[in-house]
Every structure is written in C-alpha cells, then in structure tokens.
Symmetry: C2
Subunit: 358 residues, 2 copies
C-alpha cells in the first residue's frame, strides 16, 4: 500500500488536544484499510513565534513541501494579539501557506447534524430536516492579495487595497463549484456585488461562461448583501454557494454559525494538484484550551476531508463521517454541544467513542 506523508501542524489553543485525537483516528483508518500514513509534526502560529520567532518557520514550510497534505489545527490567542497584523499567527501562517501552495479552492461545508438541530439559534422550522450547504470560496486572489496595497501619510493618512480578479482565477474556482454541485443537488448560487464592483461584473460574466459546460446545474446569482439576509431568512434555499475570497470569508462564517455546530465543521483548502490543507472552521478557543474538553469532531472531519480530496480514499472518509454521526446518535456530547439528557464526554473520550464506531 502507498505511504502518504502528512504534515501535522497542531498550532495553538485547543489545536494540540484535538489534533491528538484526529491522529488516533487516522491510525485506526490506517490499520483498517491497510494503508500507511507518515505523520510528521511541526510548529505553526503562536507556538512557532515563541519557538522560532516567526509564525511560519522555514522548517515547517520544508516539511509541508515534502508532504502530500497538511493537517492543520488552529492558531492564535491573546498572547500574540498585540503583534502587528502581518506577524500575527493567523495572518502570518495561513495567508502565506495558501499563496505558496496555491490553495485556491476553499470548501466549507455548513451542515447541521440531524442529532444537533437544537444547537442552532434559528427556529426549528427554518432548519427542519437539517441543513447542508457547501460554500466554495476563492482563496488565493481578490482583495486579500491584490496589489497595490499600502498607505500614504501626506497630505493626510490614506490607505488602499486592491480587489482584482482575472478570468482564469474566476473560471477555475467556478469549475470547482459546478463540479461540487453536480455531486450534490445541482443548485449553485454565485455571490457578487455586480451593481457596484467591476470585478463582480467580470465574476458574473465568467461564471455564466463556465455554466455552459454544466447545463444540468441550476445557476443563480445573488448580491452579497442579499445573501447575508437570505442565509438568515431561509438557509435551506441554498445548496452550493460560490463566492470570492472576501465575500466567502464573511458568508461562510455566517453560515457556519447558523448551524450552531461550529466545533463540528471542517474545511479544505485545495490546490490544482491533489495537495491540500485541512483545518477546523472554528478557532483556537483559548478560553477552553488545556482543559481537555474541546470538541475534536471538526478536526476529525478535517482529516476525513483530507482522505477524500488529497488521498482519494473516499470509502475511508465516508467511514469516519459515519462513525461521527453514529457517535452523536449514541448521544455522546462534548460541552459545546451538550444538552439535557445527553452523555457528557471530554475530548479524549469523544475520540475513543468515534474510533470504536469506526
């Protein structure tokens, strides 16, 4: 069997705790499927600043380059918040990783697990039967990286950023979204602000061109402000949502919070090759770090996404997802998703239950 090399970057806060559990899940998968994962650990984010003076040390970068995928925990915390933005853990680690590895396609599922409908702040009737949205976000272009970006100090302080998109950047992320829609309910909603932004006019134009190759997908366009409303009004109208880097950042977080299951949501950031970075959608949760009570499910499902998208191990990936669902159906809950009548477990125990169900 092939050996897959994984760069494991636990990071800060709850990252190391939940990563431990995800790694054990991978061990079980390796045993069950007769494959071999070579896991090498490295520092990233705040801990890397502490140990190496920079959030993304050269050694970590080399490890990533020598690997088939990156399994990422989470970074950041109060300790590093007063650093200048570009040196902070999140910005200083994630943005360069995305750019260096060309991770242009960010897939963020916003799913309500049937066992957890109660956790949403939305009324039951808005999400009855669950919710399953996939947000496809462009991740290496747009206003995040556009040049020029800078500031002037005379005659007064003035700062500027550039939002720029080329047709090839738009077309390749649109393809990812259409392909995803084909595997799901064949509905795609493309987000833009074409009534104000020139880039959005091009975005819409190119999405319409790509759509010709996917006649079975029902395509719609929505302004970003309306999308922010519609997600709150009736999230079930959405299947796949396609958005640029900035709009995708905002809408994917809004959608994730709607599910009430932030500790459950994984994400994938994928390159044109099979290479990818996989991380929980939530943050490093410094408030509960070190207590062993964090929910490891988002990290475990991130590993499942890695198996699927970078290693082509569809069956093993589905297997992990099924084990997670089963464990929830057995009423085991970490504190963040606990409710009356459930069995409260800690991080390690949740991992054990899931592994037992694998």
């Amino acid at each position: 069997a092939a050996v897959k090399k994984i760069a494991v970057l636990p990071g800060d806060g709850i990252g190391p705790e939940v990563m431990d559990v995800a790694v054990k899940v991978l061990d079980k998968v390796a045993a069950k499927y007769g494959v071999s994962f070579e896991k090498e650990f490295a520092d990233v984010g705040g801990i890397a600043i502490d140990n190496h003076g920079t959030p993304l040390p050269e050694s970590t970068l080399s490890l990533c380059k020598a690997s088939d995928a990156i399994l990422f925990g989470s970074v950041g915390g109060p300790k590093w918040e007063s650093l200048p933005p570009e040196q902070q853990p999140e910005r200083g680690a994630l943005l360069p990783l995305r750019k260096i590895f060309g991770l242009y396609a960010n897939l963020r599922p916003a799913i309500i697990f049937p066992a957890l409908t109660g956790a949403s702040t939305l009324k039951e009737e808005c999400i009855s039967g669950g919710l399953d949205i996939l947000i496809v976000r462009e991740l290496t272009g747009g206003i995040y990286f556009g040049q020029p970006k800078g500031r002037e100090d005379k005659p007064e302080r003035k700062a500027f950023d550039t939002l720029v998109y080329s047709e090839s950047e738009i077309a390749r992320i649109a393809r990812v979204a259409f392909e995803a829609a084909m595997k799901r309910n064949k509905k795609l909603c493309s987000i833009d602000k074409a009534n104000v932004l020139t880039t959005s006019v091009l975005w819409r134009e190119v999405v319409l061109e790509v759509a010709k190759d996917y006649p079975q997908v029902e395509l719609s366009h929505m302004y970003v402000d309306n999308a922010a409303m519609q997600l709150v009004r009736n999230p079930k109208q959405f299947d796949v949502i396609l958005a640029d880097n900035m709009f995708g950042d905002i809408l994917s977080d809004e959608a994730a919070m709607l599910t009430g299951s932030l500790g459950m949501l994984p994400s994938a950031s994928i390159a044109e090759s099979a290479f990818g970075l996989y991380e929980p959608s939530g943050g490093s949760a410094p408030d509960i770090a070190g207590q062993g009570i964090a929910n490891p499910i988002a990290q475990i499902l991130s590993a499942a996404m890695m198996l699927k998208f970078s290693f082509g191990m569809i069956e093993a990936s589905d297997d992990i997802e099924a084990a997670v669902r089963k464990t929830l159906d057995q009423n085991f809950r970490t504190g963040d998703i606990f409710s009356e009548g459930m069995t409260r477990v800690n991080t390690v125990q949740m991992g054990e239950k899931i592994i037992a169900n694998l």
Copy 2:
C-alpha cells in the same frame, strides 16, 4: 413657522403606494405642529428610465438641490434588471445621489418591535426583550467609489476595484457613531478586517484616536467575518455598530433580516449639513406592488427620521414612532407581519390607524 421643502421621490414597485401614506402622515404632523412642508414629487429609478431615459434625471436632481431633504421610496424591478449595472435603477440613482450630496453617514436601525418578536427567524431566547442595534455605515467612500476601477482585456480579461480610505473620511463617520453611542447605551463595536486589509489597519487606528474624545463609550473592534457570526449567535451583544461602506452594506442587511421586520425599518443617509436622504431599508418588492397591501411603516419611519435629523423636529419624530408602536400594540398588521389573532389591514388602512394615533 418655517417652511421645509421636501423632494418626494416615490420610485418603483411599492414605493408610490407607501409614499402616499407617508405623505399623509406628514400632513397630519404639519397640522398638529403648525409647520408647513412643501412637497414636490419627481421620478427616480425605473420610472425615471421609462419617462426620461435615465434613473436620475436632471430635473429630479435640481429639485433635490432646491430642497431641505429627500424622502425616497424604493427603486428597481424585473423590468430594468437586464440593463448594464451602472444604468440600473438602484445603482444609477442611489450611488450618484449619495456622492453628489455627500451623504456619508448611513444610519440603519435594526429594531425588533416588542409586538413583533415572533417574526424573527431567531429563537425567542436570542432576542428576548427585543433587539435594538444601530448600524452606522460609511456611505461615500471605500470600494464603492475608489479609483482606479476598471478592466483590461489582454492577455486575459481582468477587472479591478480599489478600496481606499483617508483618515478624515474615517474620523468623521467614527464621530457620528460615537455621538450616536453617547445617546444610547454607550457601546460601540467597530468592524474591520485588520488582519488582511491595509485600509482596516488605518480604520482601527483612526477609530482609536477618535475614541479619546469619548472616554465614556466602551469601544470594541471585531473582524467582519466574526461580526457576521456574532449577529447570528447573540445579536443582543451589540448597541452601535460602525462599519465601512461594503461591510456596512452586508452587516446592515443581515441585522435587518434578523429582526424579521424588514418592512418596518427606515434608514437615513446624512450629509455634513442637515441635508439627508431617507428611505426604507427594504426593496421595491415588485411581487406585491400595485396590490395596496405593502407595509407602509418603513416609509413612515423614514419620514420620522427626516423630521429628526434634517429638520430638528425631535418631538414630532418621536410622536410618529409612538403612533406606530401604538398601532402595532392595537394588533393591526399588514400581510408581511400578520399572525394568528391579529387584525389584517392594507396599506391605506395601516396609514389611517397610525394617523389616528398621532
């Protein structure tokens, strides 16, 4: 008594119907307070395209210039949707009006009327006791108007927009937000994306400087993606929200929808002078236009904001608000906010009830 001149621009869809009612409310106010409003009507938006070939005709603009305030209905509809973006009613009328009159401060209350808690898609417990957020959005700068904005066609199509802010633009809108906070619960949350945008770093810097003049206001900063989440998770944590043009566009719509009372929400767009444009937060609702069933409350409350901000008629403004609340407490409801056990009324009837309560 002073004569105030109002440019009345009903626009499209439900605009004319709800404007009719708002004008009658103003007549009642004029009688009650012994003031005189000179109201002149003009075309704007789609109807202006039909009648004059452009969404903002010169004649309409002259009328606005000769007036003390603009009472705006709503514009747009399917008939004009296939026009190029810059010729469409919304974009072609609103953006020039904002720029020409320097309407830099957009005030958008997101309020749940106690009588209407049930209309929100959020669970009762998230909004118990109502919700009352004021969004202060910068309206004449940022990526809406930043130059350069354009596109290239070679070697491939490429489009760009510029996000730019100067310290004076940020400082003046920040002052509006701090002043508003002083009159409310003295809590201000400033939105940015300082971990990615250079403009946001300056935004935060200048807001902190302005904050020195308002030591009693509790200031916090939040990334826009987190704000989109927090509005869904716990909207009651917010009092005044300050945001740039684009972020304010998205978050104010999200917050408005959270209230479930979109047909009830007014907005004000104000210049450095007392001049302002007042309009409902919702759209032209072409689906129900012409049926006489639209909710006129947003338009009426927009007129109330005009009295307050452009004419300094605080008492009359509060009077209208009280009449609206009383009418809701009397259980009168238009179709959009109707629920079991209430009395259903149409647009005109709702207006009559409110006027009777004035």
